[in-house]
């Protein structure tokens, strides 16, 4: 099992979510994050005082999938989330020891992303 963490533009969340759903991934966790990479911040003004904000709002999607689907999922996410401009985001993949479904107690493969096709 692998965990895929995708940090993407907030505006891309809906299309990524839909694309994932079309590929059988319906269980995911989304958090609002702020961060920075190569994308420069922006300047905000409050009563004439300038604030340069280096951290930019993004959205992080976390899903846990079986190893054999990782490449396909990454391709799907990348395709939807990409614009070609700096700030498109990142995807991190890490190993997951185990996964459990709280309602049923199911573990392992069915513990990952629910009882869907994967």
């Amino acid at each position: 099992m692998r965990k895929i963490e995708a940090i993407i533009r907030p505006g891309k969340l809906d299309s990524v979510k839909d694309a994932l759903s079309n590929h059988g991934v319906n269980g995911l966790t989304v958090t609002q994050v702020i961060g920075c990479g190569k994308q420069k911040g922006n300047t905000q003004i409050y009563r004439g005082v300038e604030y340069t904000v280096h951290l930019i709002p993004k959205v992080k999607i976390e899903i846990v999938v079986m190893d054999k689907y990782v490449e396909e999922i990454i391709r799907v996410i990348t395709q939807e989330a990409q614009t070609g401009e700096i700030g498109d985001g990142k995807i991190f993949v890490s190993a997951v020891e185990n996964a459990f479904t709280i309602r049923t107690g199911a573990t392992g493969a069915t513990g990952a992303t629910g009882e869907q096709a994967l």
Binding site: I45, Y46, R47, G48, V49, Y51
Partner: protein, 409 residues
């Protein structure tokens, strides 16, 4: 007693009351999330304290029978003698109790304005004591000098229709002193102290503009043409100042902000306050345009240059805006609008401007000195400022044990 006048002044009283919760929201949106409740609390607790102080002792000190031009006597302590019949000296067509209530709302909002400069770092007990002492030893005498019969600034001929001196100059300059005595917020100039909720501030500004119609038009003390004129002057100056700020900010910083537009409107409302019942609507446009511009410069340029931490610009908006308004009254007042006023510089009379300047000067010296003394006196028996740790955690949790916005549910 006239029912139209009385009805109108009672409504105006309610409008001016609404300005204090409005001010709470105006200020609340501008502080950081961790301090919003403490900021709201300042205004709210003042409503409680001043409502009682005024009826017990404030009203009689401000408007009671004159003693040497300096203060009212204690004849009306606890509203003794202030009843349902009009007092012919002050507002002949409305019950004395209504006039008292109307004035009370001014006494409430004035100290609340000061809270803007000491936001995010003042100790709560010290704040309460400061408000009580300031109201009794600064506001009450000053209201007497300007509005009380026999008050020496009134006798001098100084014009202040709705409180440019009494409300805005007094609170604005006191706010500056308080900001200097308390010192800068921890991390000022380095940490982000951006407003946490600009829509809240905009709502507050809207309520202030709405309430200001009661503040200025109600000061005509009658449902009459002068009230109507003051109403129009108020709206005109606010609009002009908002536009001025929008334009100036665009020229200075490249973008017009919502916070700027809201602040601009408020600065225009401040500027028109002393002259609302003495000037023409066309003059109000000028007063608003200049007021918005001058306050913008005070806040964005001068404050930055001198580096004092007037957190929410109580001085930049009310002190500076009120000063301009008082002088503008000396320029644009005309007897064609209000025969009980005077003609200003624009109408060929230079002496009014001199009197206004003198009145402003006296008000500034008095309020600055008195505020300083009061703060120093309080600091000898209690801490004015919260500890560094309390300030870091945020006053909502440290002082009030509350969170404004729950973390997850």
């Amino acid at each position: 007693m006239d029912t139209g006048d009385t009805g109108f002044i009672m409504i105006s009283t309610a409008l001016v009351f609404l300005m204090t919760p409005g001010l709470a929201l105006f200020y609340g949106g501008m502080v950081r999330k961790k301090n919003v409740l403490s900021t709201l609390m300042h205004s709210w607790v003042i409503i409680g304290i001043m409502s009682l102080q005024w009826i017990l002792v404030g009203y009689t000190l401000a408007f009671g029978p004159d003693l040497h031009g300096l203060i009212g006597g204690l004849d009306w302590l606890g509203l003794n003698g202030v009843g349902m019949v009009p007092n012919p000296d002050y507002a002949a067509t409305i019950p004395a109790i209504v006039f008292m209530a109307f004035q009370m709302m001014f006494a409430v909002i004035t100290p609340a304005l000061i809270s803007g400069s000491i936001a995010e770092r003042m100790n709560f007990p010290a704040f309460i004591v400061f408000i009580l002492l300031w109201a009794t030893f600064v506001y009450d005498p000053l209201a007497h000098w300007v509005w009380g019969i026999g008050g020496f600034l009134r006798t001098l001929g100084a014009l202040d229709f709705a409180g440019g001196n009494v409300v805005h100059i007094s609170s604005g300059y006191s706010a500056l002193i308080a900001a200097l005595v308390l010192g800068k917020r921890k991390g000022f100039g380095k940490d982000s102290m951006a407003p946490h909720h600009v829509p809240m501030t905009v709502l507050g500004a809207g309520l202030l503009w709405f309430g200001w119609f009661g503040f200025n038009a109600g000061s005509a003390l009658g449902a009459n043409g002068l009230a109507g004129m003051a109403f129009v002057n108020t709206n005109t100056a606010a609009a002009a100042a908002a536009i001025a700020w929008v334009v100036v900010e665009r020229l200075h910083r490249g973008k017009s902000t919502m916070l700027g537009a809201a602040s601009g409107a408020v600065s225009g409302l401040v500027a028109i306050t002393p002259g609302a019942g003495f000037v023409t609507p066309l003059s109000s446009i000028v007063i608003g345009l200049v007021g918005g511009t001058v306050c913008y410069l005070a806040i964005s340029v001068i404050k930055a240059k001198f580096g004092y931490d007037d957190a929410l610009d109580a001085f930049g908006c009310h002190g500076i805006g009120g000063t301009w308004g008082a002088l503008a009254t000396g320029i644009f007042a005309t007897k064609t609008i209000n025969p009980l006023g005077a003609d200003g510089l624009f109408y060929g009379n230079a002496s009014l401007l001199e009197i206004q300047a003198m009145s402003v000067g006296i008000t500034v010296v008095f309020t600055v000195t008195a505020s300083f003394i009061i703060l120093k006196a309080i600091s000898m028996v209690m801490e004015l400022r919260v500890s560094e740790e309390q300030e870091s955690t945020g006053l909502d949790l440290s002082l009030h044990g509350e969170r404004a916005y729950s973390e997850f549910v």
